[in-house]
């Protein structure tokens, strides 16, 4: 033969030459089987990819929605408090007339706004509307500090001022304006409030933390007293507390509002509903992560199944490789790495898919898209772990095949 490689370089005639597989050859060797069975490779990869995509997307979407909630909470502040005296038949119950003053003197209170629902007073688009069609809208008397206390914004026009509060001037909540068909405020735009015309001076932007104001027409306290005989008892106070002392302030408020009967006073923190949505989102995450894990498990079983079949089909190849000098660990390594390659392909595809789903969802909902860096790592790690587990049994089985039996099979 012409110029064959030196076969006997290295081996020692006494101890015997060794069988050796270069680590660099392991990967090409492991992909031989995959390249030969492309459809099956794609399908078993898909199984893992779905599981990983579910996990990454759940983590990404949850984090994105939480990030959006946190941004909102930050923007709205957690230091807004409301004080009521509970509700009776859906109507707010009057607080003592001195409540506003008491609260303003309380430690930790930065701003306070007093409002009162005027019962039996309703707002209509015109004098042609029957009295029974109130549309579920309230009329509230309020002081001029409401907008600053709530950090609210006007969609159009101006808010009540010390001057306008005395006159028949109204500012409409966002929903109330829509319902009354008032598009923009102005001197000629009027609404009918229980028999009196009020000029619409402004329309409010929605209040996230005080939705009751969205469905109300707001008028000044003096006007309420003069026109509707308002008795000076507020029904709801809005308070901005010092952010660092919100909890202490909450404790003091009840006594400040109603020294005679503190338990009759309800102090609540509207941002708590948003905070609780964070918790709800978290519990939803665990559920979906569980489903993702099940999908991943099914994908892993799929890989194990494909690998077991592959070992059965490739008994002749295993026998051949043993005849060519492969040791049992070489055979086990080939099949284990093959399974890992399958899982890694699935993991990469799934992670990419999960990130894509997160971005699309965030884009559609207008959230900031956030994929926790750990999620991608977790996805790939989980895929590798599943691949290793799924490949272990087939690999051991392949390595254990007697080479003579394996060669007999075709």
């Amino acid at each position: 033969m012409s110029a064959p490689p030196d076969a006997r370089s290295g081996p020692d005639a006494r101890s015997g030459p060794g069988s050796r597989l270069r680590p660099a050859d392991l990967l090409p060797l492991a992909t031989v089987g995959l390249r030969g069975r492309r459809v099956r490779t794609a399908l078993s990869t898909l199984g893992i990819a779905i599981g990983i995509a579910a996990i990454v997307a759940v983590l990404g979407i949850t984090r994105s929605s939480q990030s959006e909630l946190l941004t909102r909470i930050d923007r709205l502040g957690t230091n807004l408090l409301t004080v009521t005296a509970g509700q009776s038949m859906g109507d707010e119950v009057p607080l003592p007339a001195t409540a506003g003053l008491g609260v303003a003197r309380t430690d930790g209170v930065e701003r306070v706004a007093v409002t009162a629902v005027l019962t039996q007073v309703h707002v209509y688009r015109s004098d042609r509307i029957p009295h029974t069609q109130t549309g579920g809208l309230d009329v509230r008397a309020t002081d001029e500090d409401l907008l600053t206390t709530l950090d609210g914004h006007l969609a159009a026009g101006v808010f009540l001022s010390a001057a306008t509060a005395r006159y028949p001037v109204a500012v409409l909540g966002h929903q109330a304006a829509v319902q009354l068909g008032v598009v923009r405020p102005g001197p000629g735009i009027r609404v009918r409030i229980s028999g009196h015309w009020f000029v619409v001076a402004g329309i409010l932007a929605p209040f996230e933390l005080a939705p009751e104001l969205d469905r109300a027409a707001l008028i000044g306290l003096p006007a309420a007293r003069d026109v509707f005989g308002y008795d000076g008892h507020p029904t709801r106070l809005y308070i901005r507390a010092d952010t660092a002392r919100v909890a202490q302030t909450v404790d003091l408020l009840a006594r400040a509002v109603n020294p005679a009967e503190p338990p009759a006073v309800q102090v609540s923190r509207p941002s708590d509903t948003l905070t609780s949505r964070l918790l709800v989102a978290d519990s939803g995450t665990s559920l979906f992560l569980g489903l993702g894990a099940v999908a991943l498990l099914v994908g892993g079983v799929g890989i194990a199944n494909v690998m077991v079949i592959s070992v059965l089909e490739r008994r002749a190849e295993i026998g051949l490789r043993r005849a060519l000098g492969a040791t049992r660990p070489h055979i086990a390594g080939q099949f284990l790495v093959e399974s890992l390659v399958l899982a890694t392909l699935g993991g990469l595809t799934g992670t990419a898919l999960g990130v894509l789903i997160t971005y699309l969802t965030a884009l559609q909902r207008g959230w900031p898209a956030v994929v926790p860096p750990g999620a991608a790592g977790l996805g790939l790690g989980a895929a590798l772990a599943v691949g290793a587990l799924a490949g272990l049994y087939p690999a051991v089985r392949a390595a254990g095949l007697p080479p003579t039996d394996a060669l007999r099979a075709v």
Binding site: M1, P5, P11, A13, S19, R22, G36, L324, P403, T404
Partner: protein, 228 residues
């Protein structure tokens, strides 16, 4: 034992467990010297394949000793046997056993995979071996696109690529038509002339006649060893 003995069987028996146990080789003595081409002939079930499996270190004898290039096979562990196969043996099978979707070159290079040689050297050696068996022009064809005769040539190149001390051939013409079988036989005898030591298992008398020495095996015993 003389230095130029490549393979030697001494009082080798092989019994497969079962009820009843099957003894397929009984007290076989056999030796193959460097440069020889020995045919092992015998009817089906006579123990030819068992003999090949033992010679290849794919199986162990129940009793007796087997030496391959001075290494005791019967007492070696799996690792050591694998090493002996990787370095000292080339095997040609009746059914070729090529990896279908690999090219001819890749199939031949697989013969050196478990020696730990770099890929470049394996490929270079594979191309040389393919040239030797007259298939240089098919080097980059996938094995599945080759004819039966070409596939067996690739398998022979794979057995030769590492310049082994001994080539074992199990019915090398068994799956080929007469003309192609004749060509393969001529290739094997040419290789032997060039110094390749061969042990050929066959029940084809033409193949046996082409070998320098025939060993007949019947019911697990060597019944005659005729030098031509």
């Amino acid at each position: 034992m003389s230095d130029d003995v490549v393979l030697s069987f001494h009082a080798v028996s092989k019994t497969y467990p079962g009820t009843p146990p099957v003894t397929s080789l009984r007290e076989v003595d056999l030796s193959v010297r460097a440069g020889e081409m020995v045919a092992v002939v015998g009817p089906s079930g006579s123990g030819k394949t068992t003999l090949l499996n033992l010679a290849a270190g794919l199986d162990r004898p129940t009793s007796g000793t087997i030496h391959l290039a001075g290494h005791a096979i019967e007492s070696s562990g799996d690792r050591r046997l694998s090493g002996l196969r990787a370095h000292l043996l080339g095997v040609v099978f009746q059914r070729f056993h090529l990896l279908d979707h690999l090219t001819a070159t890749e199939n031949v290079a697989t013969g050196l995979l478990y020696r730990g040689l770099p890929r470049r050297r394996r490929r270079a050696a594979a191309l040389t071996a393919l040239e030797r068996v007259g298939l240089a022009h098919r080097a980059h064809q996938p094995a599945r696109t080759l004819s039966g005769g070409e596939q067996q040539r690739v398998a022979i190149a794979r057995a030769l690529v590492g310049r082994p001390a001994l080539v074992l051939a199990d019915e090398p013409t068994g799956n080929l038509d007469t003309v192609t079988g004749g060509q393969i036989l001529r290739l094997l005898t040419d290789l032997n002339t060039d110094g390749v030591t061969m042990l050929v298992i066959t029940h084809d008398l033409a193949v046996a006649a082409a070998c320098g020495r025939q060993v007949e095996i019947r019911d697990g015993r060597v019944s005659s060893a005729v030098a031509l």
